[in-house]
Subunit: 408 residues, 2 copies
């Protein structure tokens, strides 16, 4: 009788379970791997042998813990064996990182840019320069193979074809960023593009404030406000990848026109421009101007403190609505909100308490991002690894060994 | 080498795949079953044999379609072999149905009740009377075994222990409705309790307006407003089952106090009480009073038409925000909104168009419920079947054969 699952399918699924456990949880002993994957000792032995032959893992003798018997060897991933290139495009800055399997950041660069350099052409040439600068740095770790490239983008992205559908704060529409970057980088790899808040959520869940949490919301504020949802442990991106556009909830019936074409959007009350305007600072001053408002607030400046209070109150209104709709265990505030968190927290919490259903409020934890400004970039690295994590056997079959040279 | 999945596990999973396909899609030929489950002809033959021996399926000769060869036999579920009791508790009415495996409604009753009869004790004794009345009706189909009981409830429900956590419009808090009903019905079966909008979403997705849709939102309006979300084909209920409380999004900064303890909640603008107040009718008049407003509107009464316009506009605001956050393919408006749909649709659509991101608006379809007032009750039946659908082999092992008598 045919059972529907063939043994080759099962072998690949089991390799995936092992590599995923090592990638997400770090080095593990064989018995810990058995406990996490449900595989027997002999199955683990065979599969680890395959991965070691491929150069993807090695085994180190673990510490002697004074327990009888042999010390348990620890299996770990070799970061340089499979590397991804993570990129980030925000209104105010660009960033790039090389990240090894297992999550080790091998190299990272972040550069500010001016609002006048946000055209598609300049963005692409700046990203290529940033990627090249990364690869010219001293390696530290030898890099065998580039297995994925992903861009975190501050705008509305269609993941199916890696197109930026709309970026109101940069004036982009229907830009095939993935294809354009692949050509500019000279790579045959797919260049994935995803929304920065979705990726921030992924990073915080896997390596940050949301470790182990199954239902969480990551709120990323800069000029715009985006949301990344994790539902039942899985990213929720909606029917066509446009989900999580929480910055465009119409929360203020008296609000003005938004760059998205709507009116009274939440981000008009809580984004960087709102904060700077309320504080009486130039609204096009970017991150440096926000730093000045923070400095003012630290000296007790009343207008700065009132601006943070108002942003905090509006932030609380939106968070309350989202908690009532989504019933998450955790809300993580990142980007701008992480930087200004101490000044907005009291007003935000007071409004959340006033407007959230008691039952949902009782189970939700609200905190600022633990990965800070790096969350979207680290999330891009995680997404770029997904194909390998799903099917580590593909590494042995790949023809990309020379691929790294192309980018380097 | 142990492969992680044992053959008994696979046998049960394959039985589940077959019964689920027949339950959701209706009678199928063996070759259609093969196409849907990926199982071979011989596997299908063995498994159908097991299910037939258990009395759960039979095979009928299919129609001769003029194609050469033998006519293909059609496998169908026998509705009376496994039956569930579905119950519904709303502010204004109670309902009950017996539904056979495959989704056939064998008997159904719905009774209005007054706002003064919503105490826990009266509700339970009324539900038991309704269930007994159902079982006294002419069977039509002989019933072998009761396999599940589920209650659709208009309030905030904790699914893990079948407790009504809060029902602001009935004054209930922390009522162990599942346990209380199991005792009153004298059954050893678990009495599941779930939110009516969550169940409406399940029913619409499986048998109604959302058939085959993977990402949808069901909005159920009565006195309160609830939401049922389907994300990637699966119900999204949040971390503790309180998700979907969309009626309590704080959408009106100028709004009043809500029974939930918050302020400016959406349901204060779009629920039954808002409609009746705007139309100048007694707000405690219930469904009959809504019928009078509908009658007024049909005669061109200006206050009634203006009331529907305003409710439609506020409905559109909330739908726009939810579409931006969730990016669904489909929004289904049920309950009150289904009944008043022709009168609220123009204002609702105009506001949705004004406030929804163009990209998300382009992929979403908004329509009124096709199951109407029955959606939550039918969803309760679907949820009550889940245990059997997950493991049809449990039927052969059950000791509930006599159980039906207890309820009957």
């Amino acid at each position: 009788m045919e059972l529907g699952l063939r043994s080759e399918t099962i072998r690949r699924a089991n390799l995936s379970a092992i590599v995923r456990a090592l990638h997400c949880d770090g080095p593990l002993s064989r018995s810990e791997l058995g406990a996490r994957t449900g595989l027997t000792r002999s199955a683990i032995r065979v599969l680890i042998g395959e991965l070691a032959a491929e150069g993807l893992v090695d085994e180190l003798n673990g510490p002697l813990l004074g327990t009888p018997g042999r010390p348990s060897a620890v299996v770990r991933l070799r970061p340089g064996r499979a590397v991804v290139l993570a990129l980030e495009v925000a209104v105010d800055y660009l960033a790039a990182a090389l990240v090894g399997i297992g999550g080790q950041v091998l190299r990272m660069r972040r550069v500010d840019r001016s609002r006048s350099s946000v055209s598609v052409e300049e963005t692409i040439s700046d990203l290529v320069a940033l990627a090249n600068a990364l690869t010219e740095e001293d390696a530290g770790e030898a890099i065998d193979e580039l297995v994925g490239i992903c861009v975190a983008f501050a705008g509305i992205v269609r993941r199916t074809d890696d197109v930026v559908a709309m970026a109101p704060n940069m004036g982009w529409r229907e830009v095939p960023l993935g294809d354009l970057l692949a050509r500019a980088l000279g790579t045959r790899l797919r260049v994935m593009v995803a929304n920065e808040a979705d990726l921030g959520a992924l990073a915080e869940q896997r390596r940050g404030a949301g470790a182990g949490v199954q239902d969480m919301l990551f709120i990323s504020g800069e000029v715009g406000v985006g949301g990344g949802l994790i539902v039942d442990g899985r990213p929720m991106t909606g029917a066509t990848g446009y989900g999580g556009e929480i910055g465009h909830m119409p929360l203020n019936p008296a609000g003005g026109a938004c760059g998205c074409g709507s009116y009274g959007c939440w981000e008009l009350e809580v984004g960087e421009l709102a904060l700077l305007a309320l504080a009486g600072h130039p609204v096009d001053g970017g991150r440096n101007e926000v730093d000045r408002v923070l400095a003012d607030a630290r000296t007790g400046d009343e207008q700065a403190l009132a601006a943070f209070d108002q942003v905090g109150t509006w932030l609380g209104r939106g968070v309350a609505g989202l908690v009532n709709v989504l019933n998450p265990q955790l809300v993580v505030l990142g980007g701008l909100f992480q930087r200004i968190y101490p000044f907005i927290e009291p007003a935000m919490r007071s409004e959340v308490e006033r407007l959230t259903l008691r039952l949902s409020a009782a189970v939700v934890n609200i905190k600022s991002s633990s990965l800070g400004v790096d969350a979207p970039l680290l999330g891009a690295a995680e997404l770029a690894f997904e194909r390998l994590l799903d099917d580590p056997a593909s590494l042995a079959e790949s023809t990309n060994q020379a691929e790294w040279r192309v980018v380097a």
